[in-house]
Symmetry: C2
Subunit: 213 residues, 2 copies
DNA sequence: GACTCGTGTGGAACGGCGTTCCATATAGCG
DNA sequence: CGCTATATGGAACGCCGTTCCACACGAGTC
């Protein structure tokens, strides 16, 4: 299966692209754990064995699905100092709408989808005239923060129940911790459920950019 | 199974602590995927069903194992500006020695082990006189960067082969990317295999602290 | 137009997983 | 000395990713 260019000669034949598109549908509907080869095969009206002719394994499938999503990253507009928060928010909203992306994006080695993100961030750092030996650190820092926060936020709402009630429960469990061992955590718990996530998130981005200057 | 205080009355009885200790042994030897209830049970000379009397499920077991590891975090010494890199490096080395920690530490909601880490970082931020409304952002930023980098580094070496040859392969695959779409990534690939990970890592920490000032 | 062969197909089966079930054993208590 | 809650452990359940293999089809060759 060397090239994707080679199209299936069969009439109603399955293509790699169709499989990935169907996988994304299933992932959006039932999450990462809901995607199995059996349900995917039945949705495509075939058997599990057929899928393995087109894709190597589940890891491969997830990486490709993630890449499809990240390819939609729009070209940033405006000054670099504005473009970076713009990219950050785009990723934040992407993972909010498709929480399953959290898994496939954070693998070793970094999947292509993640490289696209780093590329976009790195270019803005270059445009910001960040010193070359700081670009690596800066891109890594931005990327890890963006992904970690987006993942966390996405996971919060993937639980199924309402996001605010979930955060309230977490805050309550933090309040129940030992008062001396977890003084700082407890002081955070009030802030946890009331704060504006996106504003908080953008604050972190601004902090990084501030440090890069 | 309300309290841990209640000790097994049986002679050679199994305790929750013994199970967790054995689990950590298996995890250190064979990684997260190597830990199954069957191998854990056979190591403890019992059946899988017995384990479920003492622990709720695998997630519970992993969270508790992670907590045991993070509890060993030493009390930071010296000025706060030195204590934070100190904590960061401790986590970095911990995950380097026990790569399986990467998984259990990054769950939703944040496991107790992770809260311990945030507590330690937050206290240093307070000592650094960081404004209260920036402590949350700062701790989150530090935590996400420390964990992400440590995880990445740990995963690199968990592959089995030598770390440098692994990074060389990654660098080569980056060089093979499209020259215009991935100009920034390609410019990074040279730096990837030659750089000093720990120095790079500390550079990122310094950058965050710089931004907080 | 028949033959053939590489390209696809799909359902059964494999081995392993987390977890549950249940018959059984044991230790403390009335 | 029974009784009962505690604790055990092996069998079994349902599901997973993946492999296997018998088979169908479409295009090139004579």
């Amino acid at each position: 299966m060397p090239d994707d260019i080679k199209v299936n000669r069969r009439a109603g034949g399955l293509s790699r692209g169709q499989i990935i598109a169907a996988a994304i549908e299933v992932l959006d509907e039932t999450g990462e754990e809901g995607l199995t080869f059996r349900v995917l095969a039945s949705r495509l009206a075939t058997g599990p064995g057929t899928l393995y002719w087109h894709i190597a394994n589940k890891e491969d499938l997830l990486a490709e699905a993630a890449d499809v999503m990240v390819r939609a990253l729009p070209a940033p507009m405006g000054a670099p100092a504005e473009a970076i928060p713009q990219i950050a928010l785009w990723v934040y909203d992407l993972l909010d709408a498709h929480p399953w992306l959290g898994g496939p994006l954070t693998r070793t080695p970094p999947p292509l989808a993640l490289l696209r993100l780093y590329e976009a961030l790195g270019r803005q750092l270059q445009a910001l005239q960040v010193a070359p030996d700081r670009q690596f650190t800066g891109a890594t820092l931005l990327g890890s923060y963006i992904l970690s926060e987006s993942r966390q936020n996405a996971a919060n709402r993937a639980i199924g129940q309402d996001r605010t009630t979930f955060l309230d429960e977490v805050a309550a469990s933090w309040q129940a911790l030992d008062a001396t061992d977890f003084a700082f955590i407890r002081s955070l718990s009030a802030r946890l459920s009331s704060h504006d996530d996106r504003a908080e998130f953008l604050g972190g981005i601004a902090l990084i950019l501030n440090g890069l200057r």
